[in-house]
Symmetry: none
Subunit: 332 residues, 6 copies
Amino acid sequence: MASVPTPTTVKDEATAPTTIRATVVQAASVFYDTPATLDKAERLVAEAASNGAQLVVFPEAFIGGYPRGSIFGATIGHFTPTAGEQFRKYYDSAIDVPGPEMDRLASIAENYKVYLVTGVIEREGYTLYCSVVFFDPQGCYLGKRRKLMPTTAERLVWGFGDGSTTPVFDTPIGKLGAIICWENKMPLLRTAMYAKGIEIYCAPNSDDREVWQPTVRHIAIEGGVFVLSAGQFCLRKDYPPPPEYLLTEWEDELQPDSVVAAGGSVIVAPSGEVLAGPNFEGEGLLTADLDLKDVARAKFSFDAVGHYSRPDILSLIVNERAMKPVTFTSHK
Amino acid sequence: MASVPTPTTVKDEATAPTTIRATVVQAASVFYDTPATLDKAERLVAEAASNGAQLVVFPEAFIGGYPRGSIFGATIGHFTPTAGEQFRKYYDSAIDVPGPEMDRLASIAENYKVYLVTGVIEREGYTLYCSVVFFDPQGCYLGKRRKLMPTTAERLVWGFGDGSTTPVFDTPIGKLGAIICWENKMPLLRTAMYAKGIEIYCAPNSDDREVWQPTVRHIAIEGGVFVLSAGQFCLRKDYPPPPEYLLTEWEDELQPDSVVAAGGSVIVAPSGEVLAGPNFEGEGLLTADLDLKDVARAKFSFDAVGHYSRPDILSLIVNERAMKPVTFTSHK
Amino acid sequence: MASVPTPTTVKDEATAPTTIRATVVQAASVFYDTPATLDKAERLVAEAASNGAQLVVFPEAFIGGYPRGSIFGATIGHFTPTAGEQFRKYYDSAIDVPGPEMDRLASIAENYKVYLVTGVIEREGYTLYCSVVFFDPQGCYLGKRRKLMPTTAERLVWGFGDGSTTPVFDTPIGKLGAIICWENKMPLLRTAMYAKGIEIYCAPNSDDREVWQPTVRHIAIEGGVFVLSAGQFCLRKDYPPPPEYLLTEWEDELQPDSVVAAGGSVIVAPSGEVLAGPNFEGEGLLTADLDLKDVARAKFSFDAVGHYSRPDILSLIVNERAMKPVTFTSHK
Amino acid sequence: MASVPTPTTVKDEATAPTTIRATVVQAASVFYDTPATLDKAERLVAEAASNGAQLVVFPEAFIGGYPRGSIFGATIGHFTPTAGEQFRKYYDSAIDVPGPEMDRLASIAENYKVYLVTGVIEREGYTLYCSVVFFDPQGCYLGKRRKLMPTTAERLVWGFGDGSTTPVFDTPIGKLGAIICWENKMPLLRTAMYAKGIEIYCAPNSDDREVWQPTVRHIAIEGGVFVLSAGQFCLRKDYPPPPEYLLTEWEDELQPDSVVAAGGSVIVAPSGEVLAGPNFEGEGLLTADLDLKDVARAKFSFDAVGHYSRPDILSLIVNERAMKPVTFTSHK
Amino acid sequence: MASVPTPTTVKDEATAPTTIRATVVQAASVFYDTPATLDKAERLVAEAASNGAQLVVFPEAFIGGYPRGSIFGATIGHFTPTAGEQFRKYYDSAIDVPGPEMDRLASIAENYKVYLVTGVIEREGYTLYCSVVFFDPQGCYLGKRRKLMPTTAERLVWGFGDGSTTPVFDTPIGKLGAIICWENKMPLLRTAMYAKGIEIYCAPNSDDREVWQPTVRHIAIEGGVFVLSAGQFCLRKDYPPPPEYLLTEWEDELQPDSVVAAGGSVIVAPSGEVLAGPNFEGEGLLTADLDLKDVARAKFSFDAVGHYSRPDILSLIVNERAMKPVTFTSHK
Amino acid sequence: MASVPTPTTVKDEATAPTTIRATVVQAASVFYDTPATLDKAERLVAEAASNGAQLVVFPEAFIGGYPRGSIFGATIGHFTPTAGEQFRKYYDSAIDVPGPEMDRLASIAENYKVYLVTGVIEREGYTLYCSVVFFDPQGCYLGKRRKLMPTTAERLVWGFGDGSTTPVFDTPIGKLGAIICWENKMPLLRTAMYAKGIEIYCAPNSDDREVWQPTVRHIAIEGGVFVLSAGQFCLRKDYPPPPEYLLTEWEDELQPDSVVAAGGSVIVAPSGEVLAGPNFEGEGLLTADLDLKDVARAKFSFDAVGHYSRPDILSLIVNERAMKPVTFTSHK
């Protein structure tokens, strides 16, 4: 299901330089198969680009996979014998930044002339991070954002990011950044992004419930931003069959075509208006034309980090230093 | 329209001491007539109490009135000759804290054995504040909250609160506080309230648009709180006729029964589920039974000021000092 | 199983004021029943005191319970409908610090004239912490230690402590502190405790594997300290039966008498010598007489924070500030 | 005694590129005869290589000798007349880095195509250092590690290293480094090595007591690393006879075949499992196949410098500058 | 043997306020008996004071004892079973700073109205330091100096000081400081003391050889200072008999009256002239009158930290920070 | 007076390559006659070489002359009319480096196969420097050392050297360098030389007092070096008669044979033992055989720039840049 504005609309908007066309991808990773996932990413970018997309946003953990329903053999105070091996396999699907998979993503962005934003599972040392990486149409890697706070069971496998990776990129298509999944619920983190001037707020995520919708609409209003919420739509068969991969604790009987992640991707304007989606029905591309002038229109009446702030009363301190348990110094 | 749970349900819940019954009042002030407004308040509290309400929440500016559609004779760089007089009349409808109207409100709370939370226009010196006042069932005045940040044209007539009036009261029915209207969009202010442990989050307001709904639902989710959003439902005839009162800049032709404020009051659970409302149709009471255990259930997966915070990266400083332009001191 | 030195030894040692008798309790909580757990704690302290114990150390989470094998209805990206309710019940078993359960523990310490160290599940706001609390024989609460770093699935239900609760108490029976479970693997945290002069190093924990033994012996050697490792010994029937309590993902079929936590409590001297235990066989008390002079004997050849440190090369900074996402200030 | 896995196992593993075969040498130096010690080193490397070893680790001070039981004519505040001469002879057995003995070691590594790691006594100016040197199978000298902290009486003859020689080499067989003898007890130093990503942790040492075993097993667990602990096995006759060499203060009467160093070499996996040894019986080679994937399996649940660190609370600063008492500068 | 200037000389000098009378004590500690050593210290101060001394300087380690000829059961790579216990006894003879022995020393200084400078063995945690403590005639503790660098076998039992304890006290009798034993050979450390303006340079030491004399005379010349070199004179019987105390490795047969430390205390003027001593014959007091004007006389032609320095070429950096392996911080 | 070891000893030692024979020359310049001084130098080198000397060290300013007792017509704020002329004559006796006198010295070294070290007065532009020049037995000029710091009245005629001329030459007979006269009192300068590894420490000087002896003995001990202290022995008649040359301010009446410089040359071993001299009686050669192994023997217990340094506390920065008042640069 791809909700694409009619070509006519596109043409009209094309005369306004402040309108950009953005596509949110709702699709599943090829689990435990990063090369195949990259191939799939390329096909989806190609399709979006053929629709005129200048920006393509993929879901959380699209590269590396979102280990939905797994507990990696760990319960409180207990590990099954295969716990370490489950982690090792997932670890092997993750990518180094930089690394060959990053090069592949960069060349996709370059070939299809798009800004590419995608969730990845990043490997540093022996800790994994749920990250989002950004590329420009020239194939340059712009930077990354690491999830600060994994949610509940995600803490089993993902480390905690720090304040050094909260970039907002000032690009020709607007100020671009990302917050990942339930981090979007963190009011202080969002405020930090608003303070950096974010306009195109990407929200790769994995929450496919209806209650996610008011949150993303609220963010658009609170921040005066376009929100591009991208989720995976996955069937049971998108994951390896048991026992290689277990969706522990699923209450219903699962068939290969059982939906295990319903997506719910959506694009919202700064006014809170829904521009495309939400899509709860299948994989697909959502596309909308974003009039960047809407940001100013919205900020007129509410600007959380401007005229509607009270810095005398409420001041947020953001620590952007890289947090390292060990610092090596070779100069005074 | 009053959505009241059936008596049966009420009985069942009555055995659970952690469930409390709350009523949101959606009604219009009697503009320029504060004694009449207080009488109306008493009638509405009586009705709510007869339904078993333990807590009654009124809209923003219910006492004193929300001067909808007015610009008080002021444009940028210009005043009409009647500007001062318009303000004087509005000023006369406001109340002192403490003062006789406060005593009247306290006795209403005591007579009907409810926690009473209502918006008032507070007068201090020659500045008006958009405040909320709190009373307990023993008729004690608990304290007040002054709006920090009037929205756009509200800044013509209302002053700015400070950090000294952001109370959360730890009562037998839960931790109770209020944020007024668009202040609810301020992520740092909400976070301050979460940090004070708010559970029953009152949101007296004047935003009757549909886009207000995702915001209040998001707040419930973000804060793990019950949100009680109370708005006025007003017809043109609820305000004095022109020229005594002008609803400047209204696009459509107004009839006495034209709706000028559509309410939209709503009660939301910590899960984001709507318990009662929204009511866009008329004056009325919304009642719901709040299971306070839902707070813990919700905080399990997200606690913005507990396990899901990152104080090492994001730290909010709240200045609670009273801000006075002049300080007299007799010691160094 | 209680390994108690013969009375003769006790008498001999009693003349040496630098020898103290310590008991490690290996026992299971009464799950979801905090009052009964407190009763059991009192019986065990009474037994230890009748053996002459001056210090009694209980396992991690003894008060509040260690939710072994549970995942609280959470898998990655998914919650069962009862997830919140599971948390709520566990939350209700936790204790406030201070609070009535703390008063009960204090009176136990006072009645039996012992230093009492026990793991508790502490509740603050809506976040739970795995803490250890300390009492002296006069019934005074000395302070607490919150676990900094829950392990893997523990992160589902426990928050993260900070540097403000890493006390070492200088008591008449030696310098007393605690590190909880796998935190004991954190070399920087251990070093902080050594720097505070810890001599009696309590290690309430839940790791019942054989590989835990070299770790605790190593710590004794590395720190020049007595290590008192206290674990719970639990059978399946010590937890409520399903469906009230699920031990998810247990690979063997469980009978009521199936061992789900094998204890492994042990007392180790600064030389690395095992003084009592390890006990892998059942509930019981382990008792040993600790000659505090052994600390100096051990430090002669290795003192990780003294003569064998290299502060010019390796310097550890410990941040002891309380980490709060929101700070309220009412003075300049 | 050489514990070598059966050829079958080797073949199986050979297909897995992440498994490497490592040999720990337990043998005595030829004291005061560095050329003969180098010859012996070559014979032992040859034997290890014929078993398929890709990495060979020798004990502390293998080249230059560990002056066991000597006090070099020095007691506190006193020197015997021959003290200086004893030092001079030991000094003459030490090697320069670079120098001819280093060239010889490089050619051994190259000839037998192994990574070679060996303890040496290094001479710089008139201070001796207990160092470890590293060579690759191409015969390249990779670098060295100087012991930071000699233990007790070692401080009579060995200087103190600094932070400039704590390398971890990223080689095709894994990340390789070494900590020497009781330095392994230094928690901050170990943490620095973990932060550099060490996977194959060589521990050339001279502690032949049983209590060394829990320490090396703990390190494997704490660091998620393979530990290769190599000690010398020495008889009295491995040292020159008195009066040329005195083993002062030995409590038992010594015969030529008296054991004066019992070795205790061992190879431990990241899980804490012992893969080969400990050997307390004689000289010999210990060989094991190391599956480097075990590192990731272990780090899943504990990563002291990754997801299980708390850099906000505990931060280690490592000064890697070379520490020179005098610095000459010829530019501004 | 007490070399005391004749009273006549004293009287003459008494008219010159820049002349002060100083006494160097050459005496043995009562080993393993700190209270008795303190009693002996008091008797010696009393005797010095009766001779008019304003300053009394005791030898290195006078309080706590210099463990001459011991190796504490440690040889390289080996400990005898009693090593720890030997240390423990020595540790028990050491003193805390502050502590009761310090109070006793302070009262001695006050009672006899002298500046008192004495070597002590200081205990902090489980590391011992060879320190010198300073008191004024009012009984105030002025501060301490910790030996930076124990010599050879001293490193078995004493830790390493840092730059935070290198005081020079500006007192009415001149600028007073101390360097301990072979530290006096450290040219950079001496230079640091010169830079602090030291005039009365105390050198508590344990080097009783003739070659110590040119060193102390050189220092007087190089620094333009008075050097007060105080050593212990000890017979074998001043130490406990074997096996309680062993003077290991003494080449001659020892009788109770065998001299094991020959003293060699001496007082030298800034010109290099010997004012009193050296005494190699027995316990005793050396007294001299120091004309502080001699300092200026000497500095005229050579001032190592003034006109005769070349800071453009030779600059010494002294790090006076306390070096702690662990730093706790509770503020930003 | 020449103290020469017997030939027998020489032969024995000749088989030991680490022993070298060194001669210190104590003699007077031929004042104002540099060619004659060079002839005298050759005669003295010839004599030394015939005794087997491999190294010959001359006094400070031997070539060019030490203008003892002169003030060159200058007092503070005043010059006599002949002041300039006095300087001119002295300037004419000085030598250029390089220059013909240097060539002559080189050929002497080559002819007699010795290392030659001599003080010279060096001329650069119109500034004179008190320098020492070094030649090897092949007649190569090795380099020079300029006195950093002239003493008191020397500053009337000599300039100040810089850090670019502090060489230590690594020669087949050991590491060779020189410090001139009272510079030897500079602890930082000596330390710089130790850090460069000096073993044969030449000290051409002009201090003939007894107090010079402890200084040179101390340096030998402090540095673990052989010190070769060479002074001139001069009678009044070695200088031109008045008025051509005035020995101003001499207290005693001078006869032609009055001793105006008493020499005091001496050779000291690293242990502080005097190997030859001091000679206070007349011109002559002092010869000693230096066993370079003594350096290691001495460094065992004290190494000021190795194991006995504290670079973390005391760090010396040596600026070796040439210091030029004007720098021309053609690039940024």
